[in-house]
Symmetry: C2
Subunit: 234 residues, 2 copies
DNA sequence: CGTGTACTTGAATTACATCAAATGATGTGG
DNA sequence: CCACATCATTTGATGTAATTCAAGTACACG
């Protein structure tokens, strides 16, 4: 088995002022002047799919903002299997624990190639002295985490396997105009929904047969959102 | 069906300086002087069991600290049933959304008679101006919420029903010296674990038969923690 | 003392996990 | 470029666990 290169490529000092996702990100409130003169050591990194950004229990020295790609937060269960407890996308923040000086609580792994900014906890502390609204921004991030965690429980981990898979499609579709979903490997689907990969597989196949979803290419589906809605509430 | 009196009794202005649970609570960091001269309108309230402290989607005007008793946070599911997403005990804070000006995200209901302090969001904003460490305290609360939410998913909502019930006993026992657990109604147990009340009932009965637990009085059990540990990891 | 509510137990059914085997996709070395 | 190894996906057969529906019991309360 060949060991994959799992290191991130360094893309240079980021230009936060010009960041495409700045309006989504932590620093949306900060004035240009807040950045000036500070040696923040923020890094702009490129991660291949499957890279471990950090491990569970590792001391948290930095938090991360996603510029592109999808990241999963994984926790190990008492019996050895693992469960995906959250998915993070463009504009989301991970590793907030670091700001409080705590170790990371999950493993964070990229599911696709991703562009991610690494912000040392010390930078947050410095910036906070300049900008009193940063803490409010951070609290909003925490709130979003709680909200997503609760949704994960009630929406994706409750009810029959059929309903869960249907809700996963709806969740992935989000509020995009089209009805296209990019699914992942069955193993990951299973770890998200708390079912086995075989069950996940069977249900996806069943949806395909019943034309609730329509495979466009590998793991890309066009979805009948109305019927998914209906299935999701059984 | 008779409508119960669900209003809280007002117990007067609280004396935060002398509060038994102050070391657990939000204001543990604040100096005596921070309280002086502020008209904070904090209320000390007494809630009977089963009182709704706030509803889901209600505008959040205050947060609450639990001095005694247990509170459940409940969310309604698409199909109409409801799920308990968290249990809060002495020293815990609920309704943090209020600090951010957001509506409450759950219904909060007392499971026992409870003493609870109501702290208006405005008071937090005032105090924050005095004490810059308060926001850190608030962030820690958010972090605890996320942590508990993740534990709820991986620990109490994963695996067989037997394992979940076992883990619930362990969770309720916490790190108390004794091996005594105070359980709740089967309906609530079911809403916590994502199973039916019949299944919950059967498993509790089975544990009793197998002497893994021993009923002391109504819903009070002495537990064989070692065997519960073992069952919990199947 | 009757009535409503929660709890308990049983039997039938359904949903899911498990085990096993076949197929498909991907990458490697000859 | 092909043969082969490896890994993910798919499908089937079977057993088990949990839900559902139903009936009965215990208990609190007016």
């Amino acid at each position: 088995m060949k060991v994959k290169k799992i290191l991130a490529a360094w893309r240079g000092e980021p230009q936060c002022e010009k960041c495409q996702v700045r309006h989504l990100a932590l620093f949306s409130d900060l004035a240009e002047s807040d950045f000036m003169g500070l040696h923040l050591h923020i890094e702009d990194l490129e991660f291949p799919a499957g890279t471990i950004i950090y491990h569970s229990d590792e001391p948290g020295r930095a938090l991360f903002t996603i510029r592109s790609g999808v990241v999963k937060l994984v926790q190990c269960l008492p019996n050895g299997t693992q469960r995906i407890v959250r998915l993070l996308r463009q504009g989301a923040t991970l590793g907030l624990e670091a700001v409080l000086g705590e170790p990371y609580r999950h493993a964070a792994i990229t599911m696709q190639d991703a562009l991610i900014c690494r912000i040392p906890a010390t930078a947050i502390h410095q910036l906070n002295a300049q900008s009193p609204t940063l803490y409010t921004q951070l609290m909003r991030r925490w709130q979003q985490s709680v909200e997503q965690a609760d949704e994960w429980l009630t929406f994706l981990s409750t009810g029959t396997a059929r309903a869960r898979v249907a809700r996963l499609f709806l969740h992935l579709n989000g509020d995009s105009g089209d009805a296209i979903c990019q699914l992942f490997g069955r193993e990951d689907v299973a770890a998200i929904l708390g079912i086995t990969s075989e069950t996940a597989c069977r249900i996806v196949a069943e949806f395909s047969r019943d034309k609730v979803i329509n495979a466009l290419s590998s793991n890309r589906f066009e979805c009948d959102l109305l019927r998914l809605e209906e299935i999701s509430s059984n």
